[in-house]
Amino acid sequence: MTKPQSIKSPDHERQREDFDSRAPLGKTILRRLYSYMLKCRTVEERIRLLFRQGRFSGNYFAAVGQEATEVGATMDLLAEDTIAPSHRNFVTHIMKGTPLTLMFAHIFLRKDSPDQGRCAQAHCGYAPLNIITPASTIAAQLAIGTGVALANKMQKKASVVVALSGEGSTSLGLWHESLNFAGVHHLPIVFVLENNLWAESVPARLQSAVDDFSIKAQAYGIRGITVDGNDVVAVYRASQDAIRRARGGDGPTLIECKTYRWYGHSEIDPAKYRTVEELEYWKSRDPIPAMERYLQQRGSWAESWKEELLAEFDKEIDDAIEFAEKSPYPDSEEALDHVFSFSIRERELNRKVWAPQISSSE
C-alpha cells in the first residue's frame, strides 16, 4: 500500500506563495529582531545556569534555538493585545515588556512574581500587559485566548490575541475546538504553532500524519501557512500579516513555524531520544548567527554592537537577579488568598465548636 498523499489544496499552496513576496524590512526592524533574539537567548542561558547552580528550585523549559519564532511572532504587539503563552514561551514576556525583575522574581518563586509564588516557572502571566497566566494543561491557553478574542470582537476593540503552542498540542480536542470556534466567529486571533519536532520524547510524526501542520487550518475555514521558524524575518512577516488581518476584522490565521529546541524538554531531560546528527543540523541553522550574516550583508552589523548589547543585557539580568533574590517568599498563610473574590482566611483558620442549645419553647 502506498502512503496516502498529503491533502494540499490549491488554496493552501496559494497562501504560502502569497506570503513569499519579498518586500524588504527596514534596518531598524531587522536590528530590533536581532537584539531581541540575543536578549531572549541571554536570559534563558542565564536561567539555565542558575538552575545548574541550584539557585532556584523547580524546573525550566527553555526555548533556546526557537528564538526566531518567539521573537518574530510577538514583536510589536500593542499593550492591549493579548498573549496566550504555553510553558515554552517565558521569553515572550521580554517581547511584551514585562520587567526582568518580575520575570526573575517568578523564576525564584518570590512574592514579587506576578503570581506571588504560586505557579511553577513554566507558567507565567502578567495582567498589566495582557499576558494570560497559563495552566499546565496543553492547549488550554488557546481556548481561553479564543474567548478573549471573542470579547474583543463583541466589544468592538481592535485588539488581537496571539496564542502560542507546540505541535503536541494539535492532538488535543481543545486545539481543534479553539480553531473551529475562532473560524466560525471569525475572531481576531493568531495561532502560532511552534513545531519543534518533539513533544517531550515523542516525535512530531507520532502526533500527526501530516507533513505541514498548517494544513489543519483548512478544516476550520481559516488561513494556514507554514514558515521556516528559524528565519526571524519570515516569522515576523507572516505574523505581522496575520495580526494586521485579524485587527482589520479579517479573521484568524494558523502559522506553523518549523523550528527546534536545542536542549531537553526541560532542564532535567537529557533528550537521549534524538540523534546527535539531528541536533547538529539544527544548531547549524541557529537563527542568531544567521541574522548576523543577514545584517552584515546589509552593512548593519558590527561585532562591537553585539558586545554592547550583551553587556547591557548582562547588567539588566544581574540587577534583576539581585532584586529577585532579595524579594521575600510570601507568608505561608497567603496560600489561602485569591481563592475567591472574598477572603476565606477566617473560615479556614477559625473553627467554632457548637454546644447543645436548650431549646426554648417555640
Binding site: 480536542g173 457548637w354 431549646s359
Partner: protein, 328 residues
C-alpha cells in the same frame, strides 16, 4: 406578585440581567433559535440578537473556555451545559482553568462566569440525561456551586451569581422546571450566595437538603407533622460550595438530630461533608447518628421506572429516615 414556575423565574433572571448589563451574554448548544432544549432561553435571541445569545458549536470545552476568556476580558458570560451528563468534555475548562485562574494569577486575572447546568433524575431520562454530579465541583475550591430548590430562589440566586465575581456552577433541576410555582417578584431582587435558608422551622430533628430533594424533604416534614406531630426543621443549603455551616449547625445544636437528603451518589456527596462538619464541630450536640438519604453508589440513573425509583430518594424514604432518627 405573580405565581411563577422555576423555569420562568430563570428565564426572567436571564432577561433582566441581559437588559441591565450589556456585558452579559449567553452561549451554548441550541440556546438561540430554539431557545434551549428545555426552553429556558426562549425568546432571548429575538430580544437581544445572535451576538448575545450564541448558538455554539457542539463542544462543551470551548463553550466554557471561550466564556472564561471572554470573562477575563470584561464580559459576563452565562454558558449553558445542556445536560450535566455532558459536562465532562468541559472538565478541564471548569476545574483546571475557571477554578484556578484567580488563584494562579494571585487575583490579577479573574473569570466571572455563571455556568448553567441542567441536572437531575426522576424524568426517565436514563443513564445520560439524569445525572447529579454536583459533588465533582464541590471538591474544587475556586468554584461556587449553587442549586436552588424554588422559583424565588432560582431567580434571585441566578442574578446574584451573574453579578458575582467568581465562577459559579448553577445547577437547575429539570424536574423542578415546570412542577412548582411560587410568588416571584417581577422587580429586581437577589438572594445571597453562600447563605442557607431555613425553609421550615422545627425543634425535633433537622433535615438538610437542596434542589429538587428539598421539595421532597418539605413534603416529608409535613407528613411527619400530620402523622406524629414531630416538628422537622428543614434547611435548604442553596449554595453547596462554599458551604454555609452556621445555619445548619445552629439548627443541629437545637434539635440534636440530623437527616441529610441529596440526589447525588452517597460516597463523598454533600451529605458526607455535612456529616463530617457536624461530627467535628457539633459532636456534643448529637443524640442520634447522622442519617443520610441519597442516591446509591451506582454509575448513573437507569431508565426503566423500577430501577429509577430505586435510585431516587423519595418522600417515603425520607420519612423512614426521619422516624429512625427520632426513634434512636
Amino acid at each position: 406578585m405573580p405565581l411563577t414556575t422555576y423555569i420562568d423565574a430563570i428565564t426572567s433572571a436571564l432577561r433582566e440581567e441581559m437588559a441591565r448589563d450589556e456585558r452579559v451574554f449567553i452561549i451554548g448548544e441550541d440556546v438561540g433559535a430554539m431557545g434551549g432544549v428545555f426552553k429556558v432561553t426562549k425568546g432571548l435571541q429575538e430580544e437581544f440578537g445572535s451576538d448575545r445569545v450564541i448558538d455554539s458549536p457542539l463542544a462543551e470545552g470551548i463553550i466554557v473556555s471561550s466564556s472564561i476568556g471572554a470573562a477575563m476580558a470584561g464580559m459576563r458570560p452565562v454558558p449553558e451545559i445542556q445536560f450535566a451528563d455532558f459536562i465532562a468534555p468541559a472538565m478541564d475548562s471548569i476545574v483546571e482553568q475557571a477554578a484556578k485562574l484567580r488563584y494562579r494569577s494571585a487575583g490579577t486575572q479573574t473569570c466571572p462566569l455563571t455556568v448553567r447546568v441542567c441536572y437531575g433524575g426522576g424524568t426517565g431520562g436514563g443513564l445520560y440525561h439524569s445525572q447529579t454530579n454536583t459533588s465533582w465541583f464541590i471538591q474544587t475550591p475556586g468554584l461556587m456551586v449553587v442549586a436552588p430548590s424554588s422559583p424565588y430562589d432560582a431567580k434571585g440566586l441566578l442574578k446574584a451569581a451573574i453579578r458575582n465575581d467568581d465562577p459559579v456552577l448553577f445547577f437547575e433541576h429539570k424536574k423542578l422546571y415546570r412542577s412548582i410555582k411560587e410568588e416571584v417578584p417581577a422587580d429586581d431582587y437577589t438572594v445571597p450566595l453562600m447563605k442557607a435558608a431555613i425553609k421550615r422551622k422545627g425543634s425535633d430533628v433537622t433535615a438538610i437538603s437542596h434542589g429538587y430533594m428539598l421539595q421532597l424533604t418539605l413534603q416529608a416534614a409535613e407528613k411527619m407533622k400530620e402523622e406524629s406531630g414531630a416538628e422537622v426543621a428543614v434547611i435548604d443549603l442553596r449554595t453547596l460550595a462554599p458551604l454555609d455551616k452556621d445555619t445548619f449547625l445552629e439548627s443541629v445544636a437545637r434539635t440534636s438530630r440530623v437527616v441529610v437528603v441529596h440526589e447525588a451518589n452517597r460516597t463523598l456527596g454533600i451529605g458526607a461533608e455535612v456529616s463530617a462538619i457536624i461530627a467535628e464541630e457539633a459532636f456534643d450536640c448529637l443524640d442520634a447518628p447522622v442519617t443520610r438519604v441519597t442516591g446509591p453508589d451506582i454509575p448513573a440513573i437507569p431508565a426503566c421506572p423500577p430501577l429509577e425509583k430505586f435510585y431516587m430518594p423519595s418522600v417515603e424514604k425520607i420519612v423512614a429516615a426521619l422516624k429512625r432518627t427520632l426513634d434512636y
